[in-house]
């Protein structure tokens, strides 16, 4: 079972994976908090559901974008080193 390729590419690929993975920890927690809090709020005041959902999706997208900053920077680091 021989693997081919050079150590440079291998280490860059590992770093790409690690950077994206670590970058996903924070937003993962954040997205969980956003959905959890919205469920809590709807549980308390079901009549505000529509308004809360709009804000929830906005907050979700803003938080989720942070993963993509990490992914983007990881791609940049992969491409230029």
């Amino acid at each position: 079972m021989a693997l081919n390729g050079d150590i440079n590419t291998a280490s860059k690929t590992i770093v790409l994976g690690l950077a994206t993975g670590f970058g996903a920890i924070g937003p993962g927690i954040g997205v969980g908090i956003i959905f959890g809090k919205t469920i809590e709020a709807v549980g308390r005041q079901p009549e505000l559901r529509g308004q809360l959902q709009g804000m929830m999706w906005l907050g979700f997208a803003l938080t989720e974008a942070i993963v993509f900053y990490a992914l983007g920077m990881a791609f940049v680091a992969y491409a230029i080193t």
């Binding site: 079972m1 709009g54 999706w57 997208a61 989720e64 974008a65 993509f68 992914l71």
Partner: protein
């Protein structure tokens, strides 16, 4: 990307699908205005965004709506109440509601078109002696140029409208909260200017990387078996048993939820930014 088949154990490179098409356009034109795969996808999604509502409306609108009309009314209602009303003040509604609604519909159709396999890959495959083009999924919005251009429209619209409604001095003064102590003023100016510029990056990167990462994840899950088989031997094709169900599940998630959500977010944030410039909070 070209959907990797079981038989191709020569390996495939998911990233190259998003970069290579720039170098071999269908038609070469001066000033880099080449017609390549991305441009064709933009045209198709533009046509989709215009023709589908047009055809439904031409069939006649009724008091008891058909399913098509119901769908159109839902899209309009979302664009009006959820996106435009939430961000734009009343005096900006007349000009900028059409813009944010167009953003919503156009980006949504770009994203949706990105999940329909179409024969634009430029590669072909022989099946029983007949040469057929390989099917491929590619989204026009999974392209930084497209996302950044749309973002620049919002960016300039924001500042031009801000200046038009508040005057040059009034608008730039509104960036800084009134009653700020003198010593921290320079710092605050730097932070505010930076935050305006970061909007460019955040708005375009969110759309671009959401679609790119979505397509990449689908490609990797569908092709992970073939990728591993290329270096580990044919036994690794068994990984497809896990990869394909995951890939199909992610495909469904992306095509139904993420495609609409990203269009909604882009339009809603555009409305918020433009509305915030017309009516500054401080």
């Amino acid at each position: 990307m070209t959907l990797p088949l079981l038989a191709s154990s020569t390996g495939f490179d998911p990233v190259s699908e998003f970069t290579n098409f720039v170098n071999d356009p269908y038609v070469n034109l001066p000033f880099g205005l080449d017609i390549n795969k991305g441009v064709v996808y933009l045209w198709l999604s533009g046509a989709l965004a215009i023709l589908v509502p047009l055809l439904i409306i031409r069939k006649g609108l009724k008091a008891k709506p058909s399913r098509g009309q119901e769908f159109l009314e839902m899209v309009y209602d979302t664009a009006y109440t959820q996106i435009a009303k939430a961000g734009l003040p009343d005096e900006g509604m007349r000009i900028w509601f059409p813009y944010v609604a167009t953003c919503f519909v156009f980006i949504w159709s770009m994203n949706l078109l990105g999940f329909i396999p179409l024969p634009f890959s430029g590669e072909s495959i022989d099946i029983a002696g007949v040469t057929l083009p390989k099917l491929q999924i590619y989204a026009a919005s999974a392209n930084l140029s497209v996302a950044l251009t749309l973002t620049l429209v919002t960016f300039f619209a924001t500042h031009i409208e801000g200046i038009r409604y508040n005057g040059v001095v009034g608008y730039f003064k509104s960036w800084i909260p009134s009653g700020t102590p003198k010593p921290i003023l320079p710092l605050l100016i730097v932070v505010e200017v930076l935050s305006q510029l970061v909007r460019l990056v955040s708005l375009s990167f969110r759309l671009f990387f959401n679609m790119l990462a979505g397509h990449l994840v689908i490609a990797v899950f569908l092709g992970v078996g073939a990728l591993m088989a290329a270096s580990l031997g044919n036994a690794a094709f068994a990984v497809h048993l896990i990869g394909w169900p995951m890939g199909i599940a992610l495909y469904l998630l992306e095509a139904t939820l993420i495609a609409a959500l990203q269009a909604y977010i882009f339009a809603a944030l555009s409305a918020l930014y433009i509305g915030g410039a017309i009516h500054p909070e401080h």
